[in-house]
Amino acid sequence: MAPSRWLRFATLLAALSLVAAACGGDDGGGEQGGGDDGGNETATIIHGTTDPWQSFAPAGSVDLPSWNVIYNVMETLLTIPPGGDTPEPLLAESCDFDDAQTYTCTLRTGVTFHDGSTFDAEDVKFSFDRNIGIADPEGASSLLASLDEVEVVDDATVTFHLNKPDATWPFMLTVATTAIVPSETYSATEIQDDQEVVGTGRYQVAEFRPGEQVVLEAFDGYWGDPPANGRVIVQLFDTSSALKLALEQGEVDIAYRNMTPTEIDDLRSAEGVAVVEGGGTEIRYLVFNLDQEPFNELAVRQAIAMTVDRQAVADNVYNGTVEPLYSMNPVGLAGHIDAFADEYGAAPDLAGAEAVLGDAGISTPVELEVWWTPSHYGDLSADEYAEIQRSLEESGLFTVNLKSTEWDAYTEAAFTGQYPSYQLGWFPDYPDADNYLASFYASDTFLANGYANDTVDELIATEKGSTDPAERIAAFEEIQRIAAQDVPIVPIWQGKQVAAVREGITDVEQTLDASFIFRYWVISKA
């Protein structure tokens, strides 16, 4: 054949080969919906998510997706059990306060790291010391501000010496940043490479393709009960629409974080898919700058609290995937009370709002400037604030001027007191009311919104320093009542945790709770 004919023949042959290969063959290792189905303990669970990871280093991350992997590959001294809200032993067999600033833990023995080294008290001290020493800008070492020193009493006993009374310390020991790492393998001064993660958890990292997937395989040498599956593949998606399609096609078993309410609604009627829900403690709220007009007027703040229609936001914007929130201490945490509902009623009270403004001699409509950001809290922020604007303006009491800017400029302006009022959200570091109330209402809060109340500061000091649950709860409740009266912030909604799962996947709802620990080990695949 002439050369040109050879070329044509070769091209045709190549094209036909590709077509044949694409059409033929089973999916083999590439079967959609997971790998081995031979037995439950060997099943592969595929979790699709749009949340990218920052780092699998306890000392180098603060984001939820990274902490999800850490919780499954590493372990902390204490943990929040599924559905619970109180720390329970994990790598520690027991822990207790010796006094207000001394906390001693007796450690579990017979625990092995993935690299074969043995867990002991030196590893605990090492893990805390390196976290504080590295003080990675992307990490959460600031959460350990109460810690003065970790003392190794013996191989199985450590004592935490705190620099001030801190009743939240047990909760701190459940947070991913305090996960224990092996002193024999990890550097004391450098963040560990994500490809070389070592822990004591039920899973070890089998492979990590940055930006694409992380694969966790069951650790044969785990000290406790094995996981309900053999392997977890966490697959990253750029968009929730792609994730939804992949779930519908069976390429993933679980879609968890973050799908839109519309997509979730659609999935409720999708074949072979079920939507499961659980409690969440993510909240959104509106902050007032008390140093700027008109929010320096208590009557204005109270009138807004009476007027804003939380239920409309929950129904019209979020399709019921969030609940109206009446306190900055969310439902599910100890000490929660619906303080704003108790003070002003659950539903908007327009007559009451008008009376409050009238009694204060404030003429209406009151002009409000409200800021929100399109780039940090999801695409629905625009709709959310349009709904808030609508409910406030329909009352006839307010005129709302909505403004927005990108997150970076937004935080810089908001936290330097430039905005009169602004949108914010909160994700817990640990499931305790202190992580909310102290963060928002202390006079030195990061919000820098000009709110200062000595009584609240005293109550915060009381709850931080008390190990008596009843005393703490009483303090939490009082803080909420005062805050509802002072209204430096209006809580708007509390999010549920929602996941969509394929047929045959069970027990996901077990792990959807206030702790935000997504426990792969409880999930089964039929």
Partner: protein, 342 residues
Amino acid sequence: MPKQTTSLRTYALTRLALAVPMFLLLLTLVFLLMRVAPGDPISAALGGRLSQEELQIRREAAGYDRPLIVQYFEYLGDVATGDFGTTISDNRPVTGMIVQNGAATLELTMVAMLIAVLVGIGIGLVAGRYRDTPVDVVGRLFGIVIYAAPIFFLGFLAQLVFGKWLGWLPTSGRASPVVTFELNTPTNLFIVDALIAGDWAALSDILKHLVMPATTLGLVTGGIFIRLVRVNVLQTLQGDYIEAARARGLSERSVVFRHAFKNALVPVITVMGLQFALLLSGAVLTEQTFNWPGLGSELIRYLDNRDYIAVQGIITFFALVVVGMSLLIDFVNAWVDPRVRY
């Protein structure tokens, strides 16, 4: 001839020298744009959780408070040594990220280009050969429509029809999650790696995932080539040597395919080369639509995170690719056509 050879060398060296300031300008623009935009990676990650004082401490620790000129020269020095640094938002070596995700983009781009060439040349050639016939009209119409259609729209349509309604093809990713994990990837080109491993099941899975994104991207790109090939075929068919070939009694088929076609392709190859470089430097919309883990997708993600280091690294790579491809095409043109000289 010695004079022509010297001239070609001079042209090549001059062209190479001119590429350097172009490259530097690109790097400087990227650096400045990223620094001038408000915000920084620390605020993007931790704003809203820490006080301004804490954020400032962390900015200083990460070096974002240093003078711009210091950061700039440090950046140029790193580029010169091939050290693009480590991403800020997820601690990845930028070079490794470019290799891994660049391979994904390369794979998509090569197959898309193949489809674009086959469709573009095929339809363009036939349309030019049968000018002003229904075949020509359909070909031109197809080229215009396919080129004008937004690529993400075509992508979504393909996902809806072939993925959701018919269930024939997967709608996202380079391969199913299990294949992605189990396949040994020495080259990061999944097709090649599957062939090396002799894993036909994996190859089938990979090709199924590749069909929709590559076809979508290839068709849109092919729309450009259809019109270009057609115009060049028409022009070539009007040449004197074509008339001479017909006068010598050659069949019309032979005249078109053996004589006109090759000459019509010369200018088209230049455009194809540039188009390939453009595709390689980030088929962003296609990658986003199909969740394809290429450099385009990564660029969007790192831009959102204000990750200067990652964005700089990716843009630098894109600049290298485009500049390199432009150089190559210019060299080939100068070699083929002696009239191309400074």
